[in-house]
């Protein structure tokens, strides 16, 4: 099979993603930053790859997660790891701070956007450096925004109310975890491409901690489902 691009030698541009990851929710809490994702990679509307770890540790005090095209996520992880390794090359013990990674990613995304060939991702970079919490969103265009809480994808529509009501920037780690779990519960109910197995990771003074995958509690045994109460009306 000969593709058009091979004949004309044209560069292909990413116009739509193929294998995609779902929402990312990230919050700062008292003493660190926590990031949560689900563990699903969808192939269109098919829930193709489950148990996927979508949070990557970039350095001792930086983690990275994104929603969107998963192959781009894997590529970005490689690019960021390259920077971390440069410290080894120069042999000077200078490691990039989380902010350095965030800005680098913003510049990379912007460059690719300018060539109309973007990294099809909403990126979240989180870290803890010199006693300060760091959390930033880099979107598909290279927009860079530092914030205390970040949501990507459908979480931006469904979860901001929950976060507003139950979270503040000085809550405890457990409180933050509960808020994220609640958000993913809602997402599983409302977002077709969401999954009920999630993964949390947090960065604090001691470093990075990526937790085991966990299943969110969901309730499906409503009477309406069990006894199909509405059907009575139709059969009468």
């Amino acid at each position: 099979m000969i593709f058009n691009s091979e004949i004309s030698g044209q560069q292909q541009h990413t116009t739509s993603p193929v294998v995609t990851g779902g929402s990312v929710i990230a919050l700062v809490y008292n003493g660190g930053v926590i990031v949560g994702t689900d563990t699903l990679c969808s192939y269109g509307s098919m829930a193709a790859f489950k148990n996927v770890q979508k949070i990557a540790q970039i350095s001792k005090n930086t983690i990275y997660a994104s929603s969107g095209e998963f192959s781009d996520f894997q590529q970005v992880v490689k690019e960021l790891a390259k920077i971390d390794r440069s410290a080894l090359q120069y042999d000077d013990g200078v490691h990039p701070s989380p902010k350095d990674y965030g800005n680098f990613l913003a510049r990379l995304s912007y460059k690719k956007r300018c060539k109309i060939n973007p990294l099809y991702l909403q990126n979240v970079v989180a870290g803890f450096h010199n006693g300060e919490r760091y959390l930033a969103l880099v979107d598909i265009y290279g927009t860079y925004l530092e914030s205390n809480f970040i949501t990507t994808g459908f979480a931006s529509y469904f979860c901001k109310a929950i976060i507003s009501n139950y979270w503040n920037e000085n809550c405890t780690l457990d409180q933050a975890k509960q808020v994220i779990r609640e958000c993913f519960k809602v997402l599983f109910c409302r977002d077709c491409r969401a999954h009920d197995v999630i993964q949390l990771a947090y960065v604090d003074e001691q470093g990075t901690h990526i937790e085991e995958q966990e299943r969110v509690d969901t309730k499906w045994d409503f009477n309406g489902f069990k006894f199909r109460a509405n059907e009575k009306l139709h059969t009468q």
């Binding site: 120069y90 000077d92 013990g93 200078v94 990039p96 701070s97 902010k99 350095d100 800005n103 510049r107």
Partner: protein
């Protein structure tokens, strides 16, 4: 006499294992007027003696700001220094554009050294004829580096390069143990005292022929202006390192 057999270009070793072209380039640094640098826990100070080609001319500047957190003082061929200065400024700008933070000092000095070494390993090139004193502050601390035409670089607590710099180094050897805890003012006075040791008998320090640049953890690189220089040079009369010892 044997020297002249092996000194035509950089790609010829001498039997003693020397590259004469590189050694000659280091001589050019020694011909430049003196510049020195010294650092404490919080600050770095660069002092240099400016030369005036003739009475009609101005004084040749010897200190250049590379970025808010970094500056260099040069000794040797000013034209070569400008090339390196431009390179360093460009690298700092690019780093800031990509990472939004300051270029680590040691890393930039390494890059300059790599660039310098390149010139010592080619038949068609000559080494840079300038030595730099690089003063900078980064998360790793306060730094003072010296670079050479050979491509070597060293980190120092204090260093002087250029003509008659040995006199300044002798001053440093006696007093450098005080520098770590010195205040900015004491550091400047030490620098000026060291430069005073290196001037000729008929010359004197004044605000026209001396250049002082200061850098600190919360202080972007600045030059002392003419009035401040006058004040410090006046304070030299009553300054003695011994009094600093008594304070501690």
């Amino acid at each position: 006499m044997l020297k002249h057999l092996y000194d035509t270009d950089c790609v010829t070793w001498s039997p003693q294992g020397k590259l004469f072209q590189v050694e000659y380039a280091m001589e050019a640094v020694k011909q430049g007027s003196i510049c020195l640098g010294l650092k404490s826990n919080e600050n770095v100070v660069l002092c240099s003696l400016k030369r005036q080609p003739s009475e009609l001319a101005g004084y040749q500047e010897k200190q250049f700001k590379i970025d808010d957190h970094m500056a260099i003082a040069i000794a040797g061929l000013t034209a070569d220094a400008r090339v390196l200065c431009k390179y360093m400024r460009t690298e700092c700008l690019e780093y800031k554009y990509t990472y939004e933070s300051h270029h680590p000092v040691g890393r930039l000095v390494f890059k300059v050294a790599e660039k310098s070494q390149h010139k010592t390993q080619s038949g068609a090139k000559r080494p840079y004829g300038v030595g730099l004193l690089v003063a900078g502050i980064d998360p790793n601390g306060v730094h003072l580096f010296e670079t050479c035409p050979s491509g070597n670089y060293y980190e120092y607590k204090c260093q002087a390069i250029g003509s008659r710099s040995q006199a300044a180094r002798t001053y440093f050897e006696s007093w450098f143990h005080l520098f770590e805890k010195s205040t900015l003012e004491q550091l400047i006075l030490h620098g000026l005292s060291a430069i005073k040791k290196a001037i000729m008998e008929d010359e004197e320090l004044n605000e026209k022929n001396v250049e002082v640049g200061i850098l600190g953890k919360n202080l972007k690189f600045t030059h002392l202006n003419a009035q401040e220089l006058k004040d410090y040079i006046a304070k030299l009369e009553t300054f003695s390192p011994n009094s600093q010892i008594q304070q501690e």
